[in-house]
Amino acid sequence: MSIIVNNIQKGFNGTEILKGISFEFEPGKTNLIIGQSGSGKSVLTKCIVGLYEVDKGEVIYGGENFSAMNKAERKHIRTQIGMLFQGSALFDSYSVEQNVMFPLIMFSDMSKEEMIDRVNFCLKRVQLENKNHLFPSEISGGMQKRVAIARAIALNPKYLFCDEPNSGLDPKTSIVIDNLIHDLTKEYNMTTVVITHDMNSVMEIGENIMYIHKGENWWTGDKHSIVTTENKEIGDFVYASEFMKQLRGKLS
C-alpha cells in the first residue's frame, strides 16, 4: 500500500521548512528521500510518521488520511509502521531480545513462546542469532542498526522508515544494511522510505527517489536517471565527491 504526501507544508517559529511537498511512495520499492543537510528530509519524515503535525497538506496511508485522524484513530496505522532511527533508538535498559519483543508485548496477543519464536526469527533474518541476551551497549553500531531493523519488522509492518540508516557505519557495513533493507522490502512487499544523503545508498537501493532542496520537491527519478540528469543542483549533489567526479570523467 502506498503512502501519498500531498502539498505538505511545515514551519517552525515563522521559518518555513517544507514548502508544499507532494510525492507518492510506492509499495514494494525502496523509496529514497535525498538532499543536502538542512534541506528538510528529517522534518518531512517526522511529518509523515506523525511525530510533527503538518501545517497544511495531508499524508495518506493506503487510502486513509493520516493527517485528519486523532491520536486514537492513528494507532492502527502506527502498528503497521516500523522505523529505524538514525541512532538506532534501542532501549538501553533492555536486552536485544527485549528490544525486539517490545512491540510484540505491546501490540500482539502472542503467548510468551510465540513471541520468543518471532524474536528469534527476526534476529536470524538480520543475522544476529544468539545475541538475544546482550545489551545495546555491548554490541557494535552496525549490530545495533540490525537489532533496530529486527524490532521494526517484528510486527510485520506494511511501512518501513529508515532515517539515515548508514550514519556512523563503515562502507562495508553500510552495504550490508542497505541490502538488508532492500531485501526485506521485497520479501514483505513493504513501502519503504529511506532518508539519506549517502550516494552509495542511492546507487545501491534507489528505486524511487525524491530530491529535496530548500524544502521543495526538486527532482524525482530512480538511481539510473539521477546520474544522467542535467539538473545542476542534482549534479552538484551526486558528483560532490572526488570519486564520483572521476567516475563521471571516465564515463564521459
Binding site: 502498528t79 541512532g87 501490540f107
Partner: protein, 248 residues
Amino acid sequence: MNLFEHIGRFILMIAAAFKKPEKWRVLGKNFIHEVHSIGISSLSIVALLSLFMGAVMVIQTASNIDSVLIPAYTVGFATRQSMILEFSSTMICLILAGKVGSNIASEIGTMRLTEQIDALEVMGVNSINHLVLPKILASLFIFPFIVLISMGLGLIGGGLIGTQAGIITLEKYIMGLQYYFDPFSITYSLFKTLFFAFFIATIPSYFGYYVNPSGGALEVGRSGTKSVVASSMVILLINLIITYFLLL
C-alpha cells in the same frame, strides 16, 4: 516559555500519564522496576541520614537545655517531634528530590535525546503514560514506607548517641518518645509525603520529557538541575500549605 505555559504543559503531561495503559502487565512490570529504582536503591542513604539526623537532634536539644526546670525526657520528646513532623518527611524528601529527581530527569532526557521516546511514539505507545505513570505510582507507594523507616531509624540514632555519650538514660529517652504522643502526627507526615512523592516523580519527568534535544548532553544536565530546584521549591511550598491547614 513563561511559568504559566510550563504549568499548563505540566498539567497536560499529567493528564496523558493517567490515560489507560496499553497493557496492564507491562505497567505492573515497570512499576516493580521503579519501586526498586526509586525506593529500594535509596534505602541505604535514607538510613544513614536518618541515624545521623536523630543523633544530631539529641545532641543539639541536650546542649540547648540548661534549665533544671526542664525534665531530661524533653530530649526524647523534641527528637520525636522533629523527626516525625519535619525531618523524616520534608528533609528526606528534599534529599530524595535531588537523588531521585536528577536520575529521572536525566534518564528521560537521554531517552528524548537518543530518539527512544520518538521510537515509542512511532510504534503507537503513549510514551508519557509508559514512562511517567510507573514512576508516579512507585513513588506514591514506596515513599511512605521510606519515611516510616526514616522515623524509626532517626529515633534509634538519637537513642544510641544519647545513651552511649551519657546524654540521657534509655528509660528517660523512651519516656520522652512516648510523652504526649499523638498518632495524628504520623498521619500528617505521611499525608504530606504523598504530595512530595507525586511531585518528586512528576517534575523531573516533565523537565526530562520536554528537554530540547538539539541542546545535547548540556541540555540534559540543565534539565536535571532545573528539576531538582523546581521540585525542592514545590516541596517547601506544599509543606507550608499542608502544615498551615492541618496543624494550625
